[in-house]
Subunit: 534 residues, 2 copies
Amino acid sequence: MKHLLVGLSAVILATPALAQSVDRAAINGIIDQGLNHSEVMQTAAYLTDRIGGRMTNSPQMRQAEQWSQQRFRDWGLSNVRAEGFEFGRGWSIVRSSARMTSPRPIELRAIPVAWTPSTNGTVSAGVVVAPITKVEDFDRWRGKLSGKIVMLTRPDTGSEPTEPAFRRWTDAELRDRNTYMQPQHVHVPVERQLKMAEFSGRLDAFLAEEGALAWVRMSQRDGGLLHGTGYTYQVGATPKLPGMEIAAEDYRRLARLALTDTPPTLELVSEVRFHDEDVNAYNILADIPGSDRSGEYVMAGAHLDSWVASDGAQDNAAGSAVVMEAARILSQLKVKPKRTIRFALWNGEEQGILGSLAYVDRYLATRAPSSDPALAALPSNRTWRNRWPIEPRPGYRDLVAYFNLDNGSGKIRGINAEGNVAAAPIFQEWLAPFASMGATTVSLRPSGGTDHVYMQTVGVPGYQFIQDPLDYSSRIHHTSIDSYDHLKPEDLRQAAVILASFLLNAANRDAPLPRMPLPTEPTPTDPFAYPAAD
Amino acid sequence: MKHLLVGLSAVILATPALAQSVDRAAINGIIDQGLNHSEVMQTAAYLTDRIGGRMTNSPQMRQAEQWSQQRFRDWGLSNVRAEGFEFGRGWSIVRSSARMTSPRPIELRAIPVAWTPSTNGTVSAGVVVAPITKVEDFDRWRGKLSGKIVMLTRPDTGSEPTEPAFRRWTDAELRDRNTYMQPQHVHVPVERQLKMAEFSGRLDAFLAEEGALAWVRMSQRDGGLLHGTGYTYQVGATPKLPGMEIAAEDYRRLARLALTDTPPTLELVSEVRFHDEDVNAYNILADIPGSDRSGEYVMAGAHLDSWVASDGAQDNAAGSAVVMEAARILSQLKVKPKRTIRFALWNGEEQGILGSLAYVDRYLATRAPSSDPALAALPSNRTWRNRWPIEPRPGYRDLVAYFNLDNGSGKIRGINAEGNVAAAPIFQEWLAPFASMGATTVSLRPSGGTDHVYMQTVGVPGYQFIQDPLDYSSRIHHTSIDSYDHLKPEDLRQAAVILASFLLNAANRDAPLPRMPLPTEPTPTDPFAYPAAD
């Protein structure tokens, strides 16, 4: 497989007809606008420093929705709009703190867990380390939690970070990425997932019945980093108990002291607000209209929502600012594309890629409802992949290419062609002007976890760029240091230039990009697989 | 130079008389006690989790002084004692917090700077970024600081940690350490240092005169880590203004927002206490008496004091616990050494290696006072290296070897022979039983920065072990994550075993270890050096 890229490049270089389909003079204009007159960092700074963490339906996210639409309008885009989908409540932190008061006073690093309630003042209590992970554990802890702050995580030991936190892809690693992976069609039962979701409600009820005052959990990363992710955003689903995440070092200290003759007592303060004036979340859309009346369009997107432990900079003000900057660049250059170019800032990505799924379901394709009433009652995203057949919407073929950005602040090193062997050589051609900026790789390996995936599940051409990893996974992703200062201006400028160029190429290409077949229910990969154990 | 070690090993292996001077049966006993019955982690846990950060003369350090003496007594050591030296005040944090209140509310990661006063409640104010670094800067800021919180650090950008945070020495790196470095005798004028010390007082006075309410500085590391180091510990030297250190990410955000039309306002709370009931700091000493009446002794030491942003685990509960564990092991084995074995837990190391210097000055050697009255008025450590001649105390030759541990939690990989080419082959022999535990290297390169250095300055044989670096320098040293969970139990057990073995070897060796000559005023390395620019 390592020779595929070389082979493709050779084909491209030997095919003048293909090479001419890229308007390199237009790309020079994009580069000039994107590198000499960039506003990508101003955009990122407003989203991060000024607005801050943008949890879905929080006041900060509402502000970002308004501000980003205004920017699109300022830049002269058309059809700037907010498209709602049902989500649930917003939630925001007013103030919080955590202290150990005995055996000695220290401030703890802690954050309220998203969508848990306030402490209503200060909760002062001793702790019980009760790593309850299933309903069967309840009996063991019955009668032992009253008046306590319950530490729910079994503590681990400190980490040994033996890899560099910050890195860029090597050429060899990029070549290795282009390794085709056969799809694995294995039945993943949703029942277990259901059981887990149900468990968190039962745990909350159990803790409340037992008279526990609050619960805390350990941060999954150490180094003092916090996350605070949580999911009880449905209206009316307010947990009974406040929950906080405590930095791993602080949590482990508490857990160790709990084993001594001087067990700790804590003071927790979590003052939070729920916002349920409007349960819809909104995707932000803006267009540069195409000259062609076919209805075809190309689209770039990134999720505007974030978590709240910091300012959602690498995840994903970076991608949002690049998408907005591509819009600004193309608008500034007054391009008149053949197909419409659409810019999307998704919402609810962090709670399950909900915004882009809503768009898919509304405009591109839906899937048959589940025949099981229990499953049919679930949010659509939970069962989406297992429902057949796919039913294309009228706009199914209008979207000729979607390009997503959601891997932090690293520059673009290539693109994931998501198994589309017909699109790959075209992308290779589109990347050619940017080889000296480090973007060279077309990988057929699928990528996941963000807003192009639900498009891929219905055979719509959603692609995600390959970005340098930097310190995204190692320390930034969802953490308390995901702030503006860990963005890399040169990387984001490069990304905006390449994205704008891809959009223009896709919009002006004579024929739409080659598509994948409409997916139909797959044959199981392993016909002899035993059903999964419960 | 890389061949020196090989040469030394060959000599040792070919010299049976030398090989017999190590009692390997006794070392088997030490290994058994140190690996099968270790208490080093219990000791470390008490110092870190239970007592916490042990700033010199703080209540926590007082507790550590008492507790460590009690442990030595429990283990049967003799002459357990606290030896005072004049230091200054203690200081401790009762409670602290920092918030940004506008343009949006967020909790900031911050810590009071050591030995700065309380805020007396909450200080609420806007900020001014005023990176004042010299008296000449005052004019620029006059009239602009009234009622403000002054941000004194010029912000930098985020870090790119491209090296692994956690690492162990490779064999090649260990070989490279043994590279002799010629001493560089360059006159370092103390005047500049004096000026800097004076500047911090003048800055405090200027800020107070101008009506500033508090100052903040940026953490020198990013990733949300804090330090809080400060030096105004002299009685009566209380600064007028409270000072806090803010995490780099939070500080940079404030500094960026200060450039916008929505400059931030802060709420700072720093509730601290000064402790001046006793201005002496105390070194803790304990002995296993030698059978020989010569007065000769060997000594191991580590500093018990720490900074306060976390629990002073790698710096230096680790070294302290290893020294205490070596005492426990040897005491438990009821060794009857020829020379006395002394265990020292130093104090005031973090403020200038003050405790071990006090010991040196009292028992080993002193130096002539400065002839310049301004310099003579300074604390002795400031001018120590430049005062000649050295005047040996009566006990000068009694100390035959001192072994220091102060490089975090990493296991021992060898020892710095500090230029002593006569001691090096003996250390090579002493390490031989521990080659399979990873300790093999004798390096002639000098090491610095901790409690053996003032011994070295007067020609007393103070040595420091080479330890695996782990994540000490990269993220732990003086930071808010220097807690117990970043200690490595296997490493500390190994270190205690090797230290105990070295102490027994040094105590029982027929002849004292070879010493260096008494230093006399050196000839300048570069006779044509121009005086340093001011």
